[in-house]
């Protein structure tokens, strides 16, 4: 199969979820109740809003992830060519990782890797 048939997998997933939800909504019982549609929280009404500003720690790790994930994308083509290029590729990756390692070390020393 060619890569165009990927759309098939997309459609099958869509049909599975959509079909099952549709089927379930026909055979399942429904009853409306004010209390039932409240957000779940141990039987008491929710206090305050949920969509508020969140702990900055999560965003810090998201930023770090972005940096390193882009580096991973850069390493992939190198990894494929490593065997055929030999010494040149090895020296290149040493330089690349030296820079990358410095970045990680910087984040480490700035306590960006500590969860608060």
């Amino acid at each position: 199969m060619t890569s165009e048939s990927l759309i098939l997998f997309f459609i099958v997933g869509l049909v599975l979820v959509g079909g099952a939800i549709l089927f379930s909504s026909y055979i399942a019982p429904t009853s409306t109740n004010l209390q039932k549609s409240e957000a779940y929280e141990c039987g008491v009404p929710t206090k305050g809003i949920t969509w508020l500003q969140f702990n900055v720690g999560y965003y810090l790790f998201a930023l770090l992830f972005l940096v390193f994930e882009v580096e991973t994308v850069f390493i992939f083509p190198w990894a494929v060519m490593m065997k055929s290029m030999g010494m040149v590729a090895f020296v290149e990756i040493l330089i690349f990782f030296a820079v990358l390692g410095l970045g990680l070390l910087y984040a480490w020393k700035k306590h960006a890797l500590i969860w608060e």
């Binding site: 869509l14 979820v17 957000a39 929280e41 969509w51 994930e69 590729a89 990782f97 390692g101």
Partner: protein, 362 residues
């Protein structure tokens, strides 16, 4: 039409030819698509349901219990009964939820795992799409699932869900780095991203054994990171039931909840498949260089059984993890990734590059 269980390539191509000869091209393609679609659907459902059953049985035996044993022999139809029960449960609408995103989330989670299955080689010739960037594609697609989890948690408008989703996001994106880098270690050794080439390259020995120590380290790192990436215990902070009720899917009921559950098990299956393909030779039989008689005996076992057996073993190891280790705290979790696994991985890649450069691999 010939059927050779050791090489399904001729079977699939002759089947293709048969349809093409008897029907117009449009209908041939359409029928092929429908058949493959139904096959994937059935495969997905069976694997998903029986992984849930396997998990319950494995956990029961590890805790000296019997596990499900009422529905069918040894409780074999328990998960099917559960699925029917969930289908008949009410889908409770949440008043304050973001309706659109709340309903989209299960679709994203399931479709991401479906797309990943497309590139997995199950046996020789049994391979839906053989991308030339196979492993890169699987990594890219399987990481889409986290978007579904984040959407599910955020749109529920529930604090448990939101905390669960945020934890899950931080965890999955962190451990994805380690998954990617440990796979790169093997890509250096194989020199290709195409999964069929990678499997063929392990004809004379799996990469876990031919790659010396760096391949072994990469395998261990991959196992840890993959367990964390699929949100399984001991890394199941996203749905830590004792503190967050059920995490990101607290508000989901009935069949929508079932889809999150199914996706979790399918993701486990996908990462186990990647581990098998990259490190343990995929559908390749176990060969030892030079032992001709031994290799011939091993060749009698069909490739699909090799693949299924190895995948089942990796899945069992991941279940073993879950029922052995206590759950980590989130700071411990992030420390493990950023201060241990990531530096180990970077050094490991350099060692592997050096090994390949010197030609020390077998």
């Amino acid at each position: 039409m010939e059927f050779n269980i050791y090489d399904l390539t001729s079977f699939t191509s002759s089947f293709d030819q048969l349809l093409m000869e008897n029907l117009s091209p449009f209908w041939a393609v359409a029928i092929e698509m429908i058949l493959i679609g139904v096959a994937i659907l059935a495969f997905y459902a069976v694997v998903g349901l029986y992984l849930v059953y396997a998990e319950r049985k494995v956990c029961a035996f590890m805790q000296c219990r019997v596990g499900p044993n009422r529905v069918g022999p040894y409780g074999f139809f328990q998960t099917i009964a559960d699925l029917i029960k969930l289908l008949m449960k009410e889908l409770i609408p949440i008043k304050n939820a973001d309706k659109l995103l709340f309903n989209i989330a299960p679709y994203i989670v399931i479709i991401a795992s479906f797309m990943a299955i497309a590139a997995i080689p199950f046996a020789k010739g049994l391979h839906a799409i053989d991308f030339n960037i196979g492993i890169f594609y699987i990594m890219a697609v399987s990481s889409l699932g986290v978007i579904g989890i984040l959407i599910a948690g955020w749109s529920s408008n529930n604090k448990y869900s939101l905390i669960g989703a945020m934890r899950s996001g931080a965890q999955i994106v962190s451990y994805e780095l380690s998954v990617g880098l440990s796979l790169i270690t093997i890509v250096i050794l194989s020199g290709s991203l195409q999964l069929s080439t990678i499997v063929e390259g392990q004809r004379d020995g799996w990469f876990l054994f031919t790659g010396h120590i760096p391949a072994l380290i990469a395998f261990l790192v991959f196992l840890v990171a993959a367990t964390a990436e699929t949100n399984r215990g001991p890394f199941d902070l996203a749905e830590a039931e004792s503190e967050l009720t059920a995490g990101f899917h607290t508000e989901y009921s009935g069949i929508k909840f079932a889809f999150f559950f199914l996706a979790e098990y399918m993701n486990m299956f996908i990462v186990a498949s990647i581990a098998v393909t990259m490190f343990l030779g995929g559908w390749m039989p176990f060969h030892v260089g030079g032992w001709e008689a031994f290799n011939n005996i091993m060749d009698y076992i069909p490739p699909f059984f090799w693949y299924a057996g190895k995948t089942a073993f990796i899945i069992w190891v991941m279940m073993w993890f879950k029922w052995t280790f206590p759950r980590l705290r989130i700071d411990q979790l992030l420390t493990l990734e950023w201060k241990y696994l990531l530096p180990i991985n970077l050094v490991n890649i350099i060692i592997m590059a050096f090994v390949v450069l010197m030609g020390w691999h077998f």
